[in-house]
Amino acid sequence: MEPDHRDHRCHRPKAFDKMEALVREMKNTESGGVPVRSQKIFLTSIPAAFMGYDLIEWLIMRLEIEESEALNIANQLCQYGYFFPISDSKNLVVKDDSSLYRFQSPFYWPWQNKPPDNVDYAIYLTKRTLRNKQRHGLEEYEVEALAILRKNLSNKWDIITAQAEEQVKLSKAMKKPDKLISDSQEKAYWRVHRPPPGIFSSLEQVPVPTRSWKGIKPRKKTIEDCKREVELLRTSLYRTRIKVSQALENLVQHVETYTEFDPLLVPPHPSNPWVNEDVTYWQLTASFFMLRYVCRVDVPTEKRVRKWGLSMEDLLCDPTGVQEFTNYLQKEKSEENILFWLAVNDLRRSSQSQVLWKIQEIYENFVKHGAPREVNIDNQTMDKVLEGMKNNSRYCFDAAQEHVYNLLLKKDCYPRFIRSDYYKNLLANGIQPLQKKRFFGFGPTKKKASTSAQPNQGGSAQQAVTVPCAGALSKRRGSDRSLSGSAHEISHFGVSVGAHSSIVKEPKVPHSHSQSNLSDIPYRGDLDLNKSSGITDTSPVKKPPSIAPGASTSEEVCPWETPSSPPKTPLTNRKNSAHLDSESSSSDVSVGVSELAEKLQRSLLTQQHTLDCGKNLHVDTYETPRRASVSVPITHSSGSGSMEGARRKVSSFEDNSSATISAASSVFVIPSDKDNKADASAKTLKKSHSIAKASSVTSQTPIISVSSATDDADEDQQQQESEIAMADAADVSVVGDDQPSSIELSTAGTAGLSQSEPVSPLAGPSKGEAKAPLAEPDSESPASEMPPSEIAAEEEHGKAQGKEETKKRKSETGEGDEAKSNDVCPWEDEESCKVDTPFVKTYATLGYL
């Protein structure tokens, strides 16, 4: 205990100080320690012992705790060897009864001296062999240990035996009770430090240098360290702080506001899935967590919608919230702000290899003067952005982003959103899970389904699309957000999920096109090419789920799948359906679906990811796909331009379930598409693409583009513009990767018809079948649409967004002088969770200046 002992160790856990202090108090019998006396058992007298319940009693009184906690502490102390049971040498357990314990001598406390070495242990064991066999005989493990030690320490063995003999001689001279005590203490010591096999020692340390027994000296501070520290201290000295009272008030307020949203404090409705196995809650709150922003369209619960109203941060941290917000802003023609914000967020965390073209893309789309979705930024911020762009910094748009966030989104768009009828409708339509669980989704869904009849298909398709990507299609969706997915669709969805984005048809459904493995996982991108052709004819058979990672789930799905699917329901595939439409199908179905959906989502993610990184970790990269990706955006633009036209067409297509299906397929495709622009896992793209085409009776990219052009005469110009813009974007991306093929594509895109060429090989077969050119736009357009808006939202591939050339910047409100200040303090957004406390907010900002 002299400090010198410990000098060589820098890491002595604080707990030992506290334990020692406590044990000292215990041992202090004069002033209220644990009563220690000689105890008698039968005729033998056991010196210096105390009883278990005395100890527990003492701890309860001393620490003012419950018995259970006292017992726990007592056991800890026992395991560390501060006292030990007299009668039971096997287990270091304290019982709250009259069993006897004895304090360990401080000499044997842990962390007092160097940890015992093997020589000590050998001496101890040898000593015991020299003594009375009956009382000091070795345990089996000790015999083994001794044999090993003898071998390893053979050079020192003479000394060891000599030492042991010496000690035995000494102990013989001791009085009997003393001998008893010291023997038991020594034994207990080794019980702690060399525990029997299979028994854990609480003295075990994490084997890292600074935490191990010996420890190491802390690294010496270099002059750089010191400079850094002083610098930090200097700046902190002049930091503006808020009063503690205010900080605390905010904290309390935050907690009070959110308590009702805390499932561990207020049991969630209908129930906590961990408590009673009912996963309805997860279905209700599900959302796709793709890269944090991808959403799926569904009817959120009322509570969830209410939470969006708490603060902008709450809205933005919920993917569905982001989507609804985007939808709303799109209606208002002011979505460029949120899209820009999302795009910058994505850029910030993109792969290094993608930073370059993403910067260009954002610049072209949002920042450049006259950009299709130009955001309103003041000059100073603009200068900063341009400065940052020179270094190709992934953070170059941060200043602009903060400006947009604080002045436009937060002060203008968000309050408008919350006050809007749109939000009120969401709130009114929100699910109240208190209703009977089984039918929770029923009411709203049903209504929607009925209303949506024709247009729904289009809408549904869109929605489906939306799932993987963020919701761009606000317009359509916003108006009729039909939740109804027929069970059939659901099953579809589920299956496809299981099969990894391959659309599998159920045999029962007449129209279904099954795409077998098409969607195999991105990792094995090889399969698809051939498949694409084969896909065209719909094979009713589902894909063996085993292929996909989701295999297990798929199995589950299958059984119910069939029964549940009502034949020929107007197929709206919606992701929502997966989670929400439990209506038609039983809840279990929905469960399965949700699982599937999740799998699907995962798989999508994987795809995305794969695509995202030019060099996928695991996947071989295929470099071809440029065209595919390019084509997508283009299509999209056309599609978006002609959205309404597309819709109409869609309606005509009603009976064709295939159309819907295609939409669904396109859904899957989309995510990949967007991502791939930049990179290359071509196969997946093609695959997906082809799939989409195949499934949609008519859909071929070329057709699509054509149709859009023809149909939307009025919008032609816009489209062209947008296309051009897209082409630009494509070019940019090309620059990043310099692939000739891609360039071609991009140029082609400019022409407007371009995509068809690259795609065509795949599409070829399907093309012939194309019944209605109209159909494709429907199927395809939603999909294509999605990528732009959604992508932008989430992925920030703003490229495709040609359609909104006439940008309305609604919020031209304050341009920010404050913007600069904002960017100075990176903390800002995080700091303020509450919209309604602007004062605090600003204060905080200042604080960080």
Binding site: V208, R219, S245, L248, H254, D262, P263, R349, Y523, L605
Partner: protein
Amino acid sequence: MDADSKATSSETVESLQKEAEVLKKRLEEERQKLNDISLEAVAERLDCVSCPNIKPRRTLKGHQAKVLCSDWSPDKKHIVSSSQDGKMIIWDAHTTNKEHALTMPTTWVMACAYAPSGNFVACGGLDNKVTVYPLVLDEEISQRKKTVGTHTSYMSCCLFPNSDQQILTGSGDSTCALWDVESGQLLQNFHGHSADVMSIDLAPSETGNTFVSGSVDKMVLIWDMRSGQCVQSFEGHESDVNSVKFHPSGDAVATGGDDATCRLFDLRADKEIAVYSKDSIIFGANSVDFSHSGRLLFAGYNDYTVNVWDTLKCVRVWLLYGHENRVSCLQVSPDGTALSTGSWDCTLRVWA
């Protein structure tokens, strides 16, 4: 460089340290000026937190050695856990099934993390590396692993900062680092701690530009991920800081330390605002996490227990028994419905 520093004679380690001391003192004075009330006083008007009836709901058995780290999947059901013997297991916690089991070529895998997409996990430990595994069923996952970054000492913690493309790590070499997953490139290095970094946590903002780190040097530092600069520092712990966690509001940071205390530091008030400790708690806290509202703070301790603190009233409201060895890791599920704990007793448990 050397010549420069000598030329300005004041720039020696000693003088700088002296200056730092003075500055610290002044800083403390500044902070005290605004210290007008205690958290307990503010929270007096609040009702006691209604004692949640938290019970063990699942026990995940399968590890053969100490569980050292775990992380929830964003899907709210899966958990990845890593253990002392180099095994990493992906669990479906709801069904308690094991979905993957990976063996790392190292022991003491002290950190593991799920990517936000749920498609990757990262892990590392005594091998000083952070390795990313894709989660796919079809092939041998281990062959798809990718080593993203390497430290000069063990890796103690890692996380994906809102993206599958980057990994943030903390290490025994006293630095944190931000890596590009695809290229393995070091994007940013964070120097400032003078001893092993034990824990990091990302700020809960959408932009996620800041994170907090806790270290054996007893310091808690807040970092700007963009500049690599430390922007704020907190002292208070008397021993190693084992765990750090942002309050859901983003305005405060909770820490758990070897001194058997948990503490709450407010970023805007720039000071410690609460200490959660008790005479009867004598062992260090290894891991802390908040319930979704921030009202409850869960802390896993070396005495095998999980203590649940009322963060506002600063009292312990609950004590969770169950584990038979140190609680090494602990995390509230992404949707706040459950708490997972991992322990040296080789099991994980889910509480709700």
